[in-house]
Symmetry: C2
Subunit: 280 residues, 2 copies
């Protein structure tokens, strides 16, 4: 038993769609969330910058003595998981490997497609993770850069712009008869209904956030580190900017109201000279 | 005569649409550009954070001994011009006031609409600037958060998603018979043809970047500070992340190739404790 919290960090508020599953699957765990809303989004940024930012966020959460850290950001998981695992004294679980594993299990040798931000797709991380599990697996990739701003603006699945954009990005996948689509960005679950409706019921959709939450539960159970509490776990949120916007938009991702959000000033997390220069 | 450079800063690469006009109107001036591509976009961030970032960017350009600094970012101009003018030892010209002035001149008492990012519109800065010039002026505002990602993805004016998005945002303005539309974001000039086609030829479109460049020329001429050179001015670009992407996408904004781009590491511009805490 271990009653320390699980720490979750993300480039902004998207990681709350991962926290939603953690709350459902592990209701008595305490959670600490840090969203880097001052520097969001990471999806158009370079690997050294994303790695530096991710280490700063994870470093901030260490003050809460977490038993495990979840890199809820697909871009950070894709670009910086190695650095995070090397630098941090607690286990780190990213969202890429659990999503890749679930996709391979569902594909039965048929084609998988990964959709995500420009940086996640360009990193090739999902393709590598999938091929590590199943070397001959056929994998397509499709960046969908408009999905994040569509979700952040609050457009619903029946919005005409959403529907046209979904059709524009996903048409090539439909033509190539893809069988499994991995939602490789924490914003995309909010467009799931539009994506599923366009692709049809033959296509499986993998939510990396849900798979990651299952992996977290499995890890804690295997190590005897589940919480011993019988009461609902607490949740504390920290953001680097704009707690009002986080509360307003984030509650759609979490599917519950967000009360406890604290603004963190740069001197509490920015560490301008931290990263070994070899990484740049 | 003053042969020091003009410094231009922006949240990312959008300010290059302002530089394009500066290069046309003031071809013999040397220019220094700093784009904060590590923390772009500013349009969803709070005033204290935008002010802190803007001061850091302008502070970085001071090493080049500029004769004038252009805040090419609408969000920074809208949220932080006061702080910039107070803290910097050289004149600062933002993009809001020149755009507002041109709009009032063209409106002849008919309605003006300002379009921009969430933060620029919510700040009310354009409305205030316009009402300072013409207190009874009727002004509408419309945030268009999808325009920036549409432009950054490289979608052209005849793209179906662009056309649907333009129609969705601008339909209310058309219904209210607006006569002048201010492009209150440096990305929007790249959608100008789609916006103009939708609104029709009766509607004047004001490009704040062009108006700002005219204001810079006027300021330098009035103060005897124009360059004495007869050869084309130089241009040096600095970015806080991803120079490759800046070169590739930025050249569309500048309408010429970008050769000279240097990556600036955080320790050269981030100043975590700079801002008076009273501002937060």
């Amino acid at each position: 038993m271990n009653n320390s919290p699980i720490a979750v960090f993300d480039s902004g508020l998207g990681g709350l769609s991962v926290v939603r599953h953690l709350r459902q699957l592990l209701p008595s765990e305490n959670l600490v969330y840090f969203g880097d809303t001052a520097r969001v989004p990471y999806g158009i940024k370079s690997r050294p910058t994303v790695a530096q930012f991710a280490l700063e966020l994870a470093g901030f959460t260490m003050q809460f003595d977490p038993k495990l850290i979840v890199a809820a950001c697909n871009t950070a998981s894709a670009l910086a998981l190695d650095e995070l695992e090397r630098e941090l004294p607690v286990p780190v679980i990213g969202v890429v490997n659990p999503g890749a594993l679930a996709a391979v299990r569902l594909a039965h040798q048929e084609s998988i497609a990964v959709i995500g931000t420009e940086a996640t797709i360009n990193s090739g991380s999902y393709v590598r993770a999938i091929r590590t599990i199943s070397p001959e697996q056929n994998v397509e990739s499709q960046p969908c850069p408009l999905f994040v701003p569509l979700v952040e603006e609050g457009r619903a699945c029946d919005d005409p712009i959403v529907q046209l954009t979904v059709a524009t990005y996903l048409e090539p996948l439909k033509q190539r008869d893809v069988r499994v689509v991995v939602l490789g960005c924490t914003h995309y679950p909010l467009l799931r209904d539009a994506i599923a409706a366009y692709l049809g019921s033959d296509v499986h959709i993998v939510d990396s956030g849900r798979e990651t939450s299952l992996a977290v539960r499995e890890h804690l159970a295997r190590n005897g580190s589940l919480s011993s509490h019988n009461v609902p776990g607490s949740m504390s949120c920290f953001v680097s900017d704009n707690p009002q916007r986080f509360r307003r938009i984030g509650s759609r991702f979490l599917d519950e109201p967000i009360d406890d959000v604290e603004l963190v000033e740069p001197e509490r997390y920015v560490n301008v000279a931290r990263l070994p220069s070899a990484l740049r």
